[in-house]
């Protein structure tokens, strides 16, 4: 990273923005932005991700605070275990009397 780019990242760290579309709806990741502090991150999030009425509420989170799985974890974490058919609901027959849609 160039010195200039590093200065921007240090003084204007990255924040992740989550928007809630309707009251009671789950917050969804909308994107990210640079801001010097929390209040500015919230204002920037409003301007960048909520200016056309997309949200009724916002969360901003320092990107550094997010703990993420690594690509290397893909196998052990996410392999669905298709060889264990009984882990899937389709394995079980519906009892008689339950209407199948």
């Amino acid at each position: 990273m160039s010195d200039a780019a590093k200065a921007v990242t240090d003084r204007w760290p990255l924040w992740e923005v989550f928007t809630q579309g309707l009251q009671g709806a789950p917050y969804e990741h909308a994107g990210s932005l640079h801001a010097a502090d929390a209040e500015q991150a919230l204002q920037n999030a409003r301007d960048v991700y909520a200016r056309r009425g997309e949200a009724v509420s916002l969360w901003v989170v320092p990107s550094q605070a997010i703990v993420a799985s690594a690509p290397g974890d893909a196998g052990p974490f996410f392999d669905p275990g298709n060889d264990k058919a009984y882990r899937h609901p389709q394995f079980y027959k519906s009892p008689r009397g339950v209407r199948i849609f």
């Binding site: 204002q43 920037n44 301007d47």
Partner: protein
């Protein structure tokens, strides 16, 4: 150049194109005051909105670029509502576009504060804060006035301006209480701008005349609240408010700085080159 050429040139200048009326041609005195009052409100926002729009593509970072453009659009939107209302009050068939694009600088009634060139980012933000703080207080007062249409516009504008003042005041804090460079620039901006605030807070015969239309605001109370608000923010921003000296005025009477004409030339060129064009 021969004498006849000069004469023909003079003739063409003297004949105004149809549909373009200058602000001097007005009807009854009371109605004029109301028109004048609403045009002042509209022009402040149109000119400041245009100044903010000059940052589009030049903001310090992408996020702020978008924020500045948003605020610019808000202000131009407020101006459109106000100038539309002014045109209705005037009753001469001028709509908001006619008032925005086909008036000369001498017919503009904005305060000098808003027409000054955008300067650096500190200048833009300090000016914005000075204006936003006043605007929020004014809309708050006008929201309860007896003039129904103006009260409705005030209520809508107040909501958006509350966000503007939050944004600009936070920037004043960060610039003033930031680095040596940002502090110096913010202090310089405040020093340069302070003498234009007297006109913003001022009150004259137009303000008194519109009381008859149910538009009554307590100017002294607004001024006191404005001073309290800006003193608080500037103190927290470690900026020194200049002592009140002489104030520059004239915009409300159409006596503008040389900067307005240049700005209007750019703002009005498209509408004047292609009158009535739609896209």
């Amino acid at each position: 150049m021969s004498g006849s050429e000069v004469e023909s040139e003079t003739t063409s200048v003297a004949a105004p194109s149809p549909g373009v009326r200058i602000a001097g041609a007005r009807v009854a005195p009371i109605q004029n005051a109301l028109f004048e009052y609403v045009v002042r409100l509209g022009d402040d926002r149109l000119v400041l909105g245009h100044r903010l729009s000059e940052w589009c593509g030049h903001g310090p970072i992408l996020e702020e670029d978008i924020a500045l453009a948003n605020m610019s659009l808000d202000l131009v939107g407020h101006a459109a509502l106000l100038l539309k209302l002014a045109g209705e009050i005037e009753g001469q068939g001028r709509d908001e576009d006619a008032l925005a694009y086909f008036r000369e600088g001498v017919d503009y009634r904005n305060v000098l504060l808003v027409e000054l060139p955008k300067g650096d980012f500190a200048f833009t933000m300090v000016r914005q804060f000075l204006f936003d703080a006043y605007s929020v207080l004014l809309w708050d007062a006008l929201g309860g006035c007896q003039h129904e249409k103006l009260a409705a516009i005030a209520t809508k504008c107040l909501k958006e301006d509350k966000y503007h003042v939050r944004h600009s005041s936070e920037w004043v804090l960060r610039l003033g209480d930031g680095t040596e460079e940002s502090h110096g620039r913010a202090q310089r901006a405040l020093n340069d701008l302070w003498r234009f605030t007297g006109e913003l807070l001022g009150r004259d015969s137009i303000d008194d005349a519109v009381v008859a239309h149910g538009i009554q605001v307590d100017h002294d109370a607004i001024s006191a609240r404005w001073h309290a608000m800006v003193n608080d923010v500037f103190a927290r921003a470690t900026l020194t408010v200049p002592t009140d000296g002489a104030h520059n005025r004239g915009g409300r009477q159409g006596r503008h700085t040389e900067h307005l004409g240049h700005m209007l030339a750019e703002m009005q060129i498209v509408a004047r080159s292609h009158p009535g064009a739609t896209w």
